[in-house]
């Protein structure tokens, strides 16, 4: 299990625990935890509605991939530490990270 912190659109922070051996994406865990993430494309890096910002722990996660940057760069607003939650795998690298929701809900 890994433990990280999620900050919602209103700035409330909550700790989330997730299994790191099931190949889940951060988007799937956020949705399962009832966070308002649209994820229109279901995790294909096509919609950017699962946009998150890694406030702490981004060094461990490394750089966004080209596919992610393709989508992120098209948003009206993105940050140096922006990621697509559907492209971030749940792994021990996420331990202690702080993740801010940036994407759209409905």
């Amino acid at each position: 299990m890994v433990t990280f912190t999620v900050e919602d659109h209103d700035g409330n922070r909550q700790t989330v625990e997730a299994p790191d051996d099931m190949g889940l994406s951060l988007m799937e865990v956020l949705k399962a935890s009832e966070y308002p993430v649209l994820a229109t494309c279901g995790g294909m890096a096509l919609c950017a509605t699962c946009h998150v910002e890694i406030l702490e722990g981004e060094d461990a996660l490394g750089e966004a991939t080209d596919v992610e940057l393709d989508q992120l760069e098209n948003l009206p607003e993105y940050f140096p530490t922006s990621r697509l939650a559907c492209q971030v795998r749940i792994s021990p690298l996420l331990e202690g990270a702080v993740i801010k929701l940036r994407g759209e809900d409905n």
Binding site: C41, M44, L46, D66, E73, N74
Partner: protein
């Protein structure tokens, strides 16, 4: 006013196939979609992706499926209003409806079919003060008619394919085109990116890279756009129009206000005929919900067939409908 038997709100795959099912029963359709093209999610989000679960097609590209659907419904001569959003459904004394769009197009229909998918694909808007103040007064999110921009000063913002494509197109139409992009490079189609750099090198357009939109200026109507450049310097550009192109995102939109029973952004329906509970209004495809609902194209097609058989009674109140296979009569064009 446009007059038809059935008004279909949403020209995604399910709305399109519904035209076929209506046509078999000799009912005419008019479709309305806020997107400038038909195809819904397939054409907007994943046109080049292969789909594997359409019966009879081991694999088919999303756009190809949409093109095939258009071919399949051609005999039934559907009519379209594209680039407009349905805002209101006004019930008439005889039970029929007048559908009204944001541009005040009016469609009179005996039956309404909501095939609205995930809702309206709305443009993503930059966080700029007074943005809404200038909407329709210089700020546009879509190029519906390029002629609007003839001999005008146009600023486009964004780095995706549509920003590149419209920059290239409008370079020959507008007085001056400025493209603003926050990065140094473009990830859109390499061909289009090369063309844009060419146009800039030949002085045909202004290309401002590593810059962000900062402020809008003008009195009642847009007259300037202020950017923040790489070193935080301000760049002011004279502009009649600003077209931010940051992609689209689906929002339930006006559908939420039509008094239908909505659960988690979807319309609750009766699975016997996919009716909404309001007489003459049906909901099919991704926009509806019922126990066991699967958001699949296939399921939307099934729903379209069943709902059209139910709608028949409103279009032909004096006739009794008997079920026939298409193999019996073939497809009889209008």
């Amino acid at each position: 006013m446009i007059s038809t038997d059935i008004c279909i709100i949403g020209a995604g795959p399910v709305g399109l196939f519904a035209v076929f099912e209506a046509g078999l029963l000799k009912m005419r359709c008019h479709l309305v979609d806020y997107l400038p093209q038909v195809g819904g999610q397939l054409s907007e989000i994943y046109p080049q992706k292969p789909i594997y679960d359409i019966p009879g097609y081991p694999e088919i590209k999303a756009q190809e499926l949409v093109d095939n659907l258009m071919e399949q419904i051609k005999p039934f001569q559907p009519t379209f209003t594209l680039g407009e959003r349905v805002e209101h459904l006004n019930k008439q004394a005889d039970g029929s409806y007048i559908v009204v769009t944001n541009e005040n197009t009016q469609i009179h229909a005996k039956v309404i079919v909501i095939a609205g998918g995930l809702g309206v694909f709305e443009p993503r808007k930059p966080a700029l003060e007074k943005l809404d103040h200038f909407e329709g007064k210089g700020v546009a999110y879509m190029v519906k008619n390029p002629e609007t921009f003839r001999n005008k000063k146009v600023v486009l913002a964004g780095g995706g394919d549509s920003a590149l494509d419209w920059t290239i197109y409008l370079a020959n139409v507008a007085e001056r085109v400025t493209l603003v992009h926050r990065n140094e490079t473009f990830r859109g189609a390499p061909d289009s990116a090369a063309k844009v750099f060419d146009l800039a090198n030949n002085g045909k357009i202004d290309l401002i890279l590593s810059a962000n939109l900062k402020e809008l200026g003008g009195n009642g109507k847009l007259s300037s756009v202020t950017l923040e450049g790489k070193n935080k310097e301000e760049i002011v550009i004279d502009a009649d129009y600003l077209i931010p192109l940051f992609g689209l995102s689906p929002k339930l939109g006006p559908i939420a206000d039509w008094g239908l029973s909505i659960d988690k952004n979807a319309i609750e329906v009766d699975t016997r005929d996919y009716s909404t509970g309001v007489e003459r209004i049906y909901a099919i495809g991704d926009i509806n919900t019922y126990p066991g609902k699967l958001k699949l194209i296939l399921c939307g097609f099934h729903e379209a067939a069943i709902m059209m058989h139910s709608a028949f009674k409103y279009v032909y109140p004096d006739q009794k409908l008997s079920f026939k296979y298409t193999t019996v009569n073939g497809v009889n064009a209008f």
